[in-house]
Amino acid sequence: MKAIQIDDRDNVATVTGDVKRGETVEILSPDGKVILKAKPVDDIAFGHKLSLRRIREGEEIIKYGEVIGVASRDIPAGEWVHTHNVDSARLNMAGEEVRGITG
């Protein structure tokens, strides 16, 4: 199974298929090099993210080379990163009933 780091500065990568816990995930850099082999402790669904290194509570989550949120607790390397351990810097919507029109 693979995960893609989109920008060299990113501390998370996106998995390109459904990952079962304990399965080895090869994390590829934008140039296609394997930068980490992770064995996540959670199942991670296609399109979700995992951490490339330990991210401490309060640290920024970087994807696309930019801040997409802040860690709401310590995240070990190779773990699933989503609304349970990340807050938006702009609007936290974890667990909210939401609506929108922007596809």
Binding site: V67, I68, G69, S88
Partner: protein, 391 residues
């Protein structure tokens, strides 16, 4: 340095196509205009559908399309009693040095006489345009528009970042790029403003995104919120969702915000990356960017899309390998090779960059080879803008 082969226009701009544009300033004359265009190879007819009032935002888009370097000559076919007259368009097109003719059906006495006159004028322009030869030009003369539509989870993961790599490569070689759909930038104000080349551009970025959030709020929609499907699909925050969209513009500094409204109609003033303040609606978004001078369009779609454009080639890119397999007639590039690790993100970006250059050189996109000439003009509601305090 990479070069592309294009047609030099009298104003010094360089077209990658040699279209003749037939403009019906008002939809009343669109059918006759379309039949005139059908008669002559390379001619394409456009109109707008907001009535015949002389609204400057409509004029800006129609004139901008005519001034696009891909257009060799212009024929305006009006009904005759419209307030948005052909003369208004001619006045702004003529300084470019492009041939432009203006006829009306009421003056010429019906559509058959108009057809004869219109076809004769187009025929002459077609023969003149055919004399032009493609010549090599630096990429400094090329502007790319990037757009996304029919997105899925692969868009932010593969297709948009890969197009972003191509946009960066184009700008590294002296070219320009622009991306639009202001409502999709919600949550990225700070990120985009940090990339602005100066304070004015940063302020413009905040202003357009907040104005668009205001418009959506007036409709009862909070654009900062995401759907449950977005979150289930792996998007954690609105910043992540919006960054996935704007990443198709690459990572370069933002030279300016291009306004296309009643008072301003901007084009890139120097090479680099620009934001078009435009609608979150595929076809009119592309119309805005082509009216601002983009000669080639990259359009990403996870679900698949058929969109072409009246005067600009539209390269269709999908990050979803199933979509590429299912819609081979419509999708030009498979960026889905990133997903199985068989090709790196940067390598796909280089492949898209090469296709942009090949397309500029004359390679037909799938939409072009199927004869698709999509064209829709968008106009904001002036009443609503007034009530929102935007003008």
């Amino acid at each position: 340095m990479t070069e592309f082969l294009g047609y030099e226009r009298p104003d010094g701009s360089v077209g990658v196509r040699n279209h003749l544009l037939v403009i019906a300033p008002i939809d009343c004359s669109y059918e006759p205009a379309r039949k005139i265009a059908d008669q002559v190879p390379g001619a394409v007819a456009i109109t707008q559908t907001y009535g015949c009032g002389a609204d400057s935002m409509l004029v800006h888009n129609l004139v901008g399309t005519a001034l696009n370097p891909n257009v060799a000559g212009v024929l305006i076919v009006g009904l005759g009693c419209e307030t948005l007259t052909g003369e208004m368009l001619v006045e702004q097109i003529e300084p470019s040095g492009k041939p432009v003719h203006n006829i009306t059906i009421q003056e010429l006495g019906g559509t058959i006489r108009t057809h004869e006159r219109g076809v004769r004028l187009l025929q002459g322009m077609a023969q003149e345009a055919a004399k032009l030869k493609r010549e090599p030009f630096p990429l400094g003369k090329l502007t790319l528009a990037v757009e996304c539509g029919g997105s899925d989870a692969t868009s932010g993961l593969a297709a948009n970042p890969a197009v972003g790599v191509a946009a960066d490569l184009l700008i590294d070689e002296g070219g320009s790029a622009m991306f639009g759909e202001t409502q999709e930038m919600s949550g990225t104000q700070q990120v985009l403003a940090r990339r602005a080349v100066n304070k004015q551009v940063a302020e413009d970025i905040y202003q357009i995104i907040e104005a668009q959030e205001g418009r959506l709020k007036a409709m009862g929609v909070d654009s900062r919120w995401m759907s449950k499907g977005n979150i289930d699909g792996g998007l954690t925050t609105i910043e992540e969702k919006s960054l996935g969209a704007v990443r198709k513009g690459g990572t370069k500094p933002i030279q300016g915000v291009l306004f296309n409204d009643w008072d301003r109609f901007d084009r890139p003033s120097k090479p680099g990356l620009y934001i078009m303040d435009g609608p979150g609606w595929d076809l009119p978004s592309v119309t805005h960017m082509v009216a601002a001078g983009a000669q080639v369009v990259c359009f990403t779609s996870g679900r698949g899309s058929t969109t072409g454009h009246a005067v600009a080639p539209v390269i269709k890119i999908t990050g979803n390998p199933q979509t590429f397999a299912k819609m081979p007639d419509n999708m030009d590039v498979n960026a889905g090779t990133i997903l199985d690790g068989s090709e790196s993100l940067n390598s796909v970006g280089h492949r898209i960059f090469q296709m942009i250059v090949d397309t500029a050189d004359g390679r037909l996109t799938k939409a072009e080879a199927l004869g698709y000439h999509d064209y829709i003009v968008f106009k904001r509601s002036r009443e609503a803008e007034h009530l929102l305090g935007h003008c």
